[in-house]
Symmetry: C2
Subunit: 191 residues, 2 copies
């Protein structure tokens, strides 16, 4: 069975909206790339905004699932899984098509914090943070929430700074600071 037209549209939306911007990408461009007629789009989605929301939702689910697989990697112990979060960060930042955090970019296009897209992005970041909190708890960290928030600062800071300046040293320092942070938070935990 072939993938549905709806999924095709979302896939191309993820590709184009995230790379070139939502407002900069016209519906017609997207339709040409997807090989889908305009009426088909509007039979599946009420508006362009709804397609954008579906695209953001898809990336949200993908990233959450990726984090989940890292934090449940049976080949690593609890502490190693937390360090692996920074391996994942490095992989994202050093991959050839890196254009910064997709959620930062999309959020900047929707200035109204009440917009559904912004609400979804807020929920995304909170969920990622919460997931790291629970992984730290399981690993026996002394201050799981504080540590998780600081990890997020390093991860998000690295993405934005490498993206804006092109200087990979920010990534290296995020890794190093993350290592220090995790070692300190887990030093009394049962090995």
């Amino acid at each position: 069975m072939t993938i549905s037209k709806r999924d095709q549209l979302i896939d191309v939306a993820v590709e184009l909206f995230f790379r070139n911007g939502c407002h900069a990408t016209g519906i017609d461009t997207l339709l040409a790339e997807a090989g889908v007629a305009k009426m088909t789009l509007y039979s599946h989605f009420k508006s362009k905004d709804e397609l954008i929301l579906a695209a953001v939702e898809k990336v949200h689910q993908e990233q959450l699932q990726q984090l989940e697989s890292i934090l449940n990697d049976p080949g690593l112990d609890y502490e190693e899984r937390l360090h692996a979060v920074f391996d994942n960060l490095e992989q994202a930042i050093t991959s050839p098509g890196f254009i910064g955090c997709p959620f930062h970019n999309i959020a900047a296009e929707f200035r109204d914090p009440e917009h559904p897209v912004r609400q979804l992005i807020a929920r995304h970041k909170r969920k990622i943070t919460d997931r790291i909190v629970s992984a730290l708890q399981r690993a026996g960290a002394s201050e799981p929430r504080q540590t998780a928030l600081r990890m997020m600062l390093l991860v998000e800071g690295a993405k934005i700074m490498v993206h804006l300046t092109g200087d990979q040293d920010y990534l290296r320092q995020a890794r190093a600071a993350g290592r220090d942070l995790l070692v300190a938070a887990l030093k009394d935990s049962a090995g």
Copy 2:
């Protein structure tokens, strides 16, 4: 003497482009707000992009000058001046009109990294970092560049995370982590 029409346009551009977005703000809206005729705009600037560039340049200069005054505050010693960077961060984030880092937002609207606006933003972030490096050197920090990069990660991470989630705890953790970072980097310096 009254301020020039050119400066009036830049002032309103800073106001509107940074708050509502460059692409979302039409030239006509800006002109109405500034009380300036369209031909006047195009006699001072070759295009809208050039006005945007001038607006970004202005904020760049303002922020650089603000950092300079913090790092040269005669009422504080070298170490206190570095801690004051986080006071400044708190002031920015908790001020009522906070909408995230203006440079992050503008950068997201210009996806081409070769665009003059993006080049200026890259230069801005590098300059801020360099200025903190030299302040750390003067304060006798053990690893000034590493420490400056980590400070930047905390500052930029806090801005983006508080903006996207609305959770001020990210700011508190950035402050706390910044304090730890500076204490560790300056522990052997001459008091």
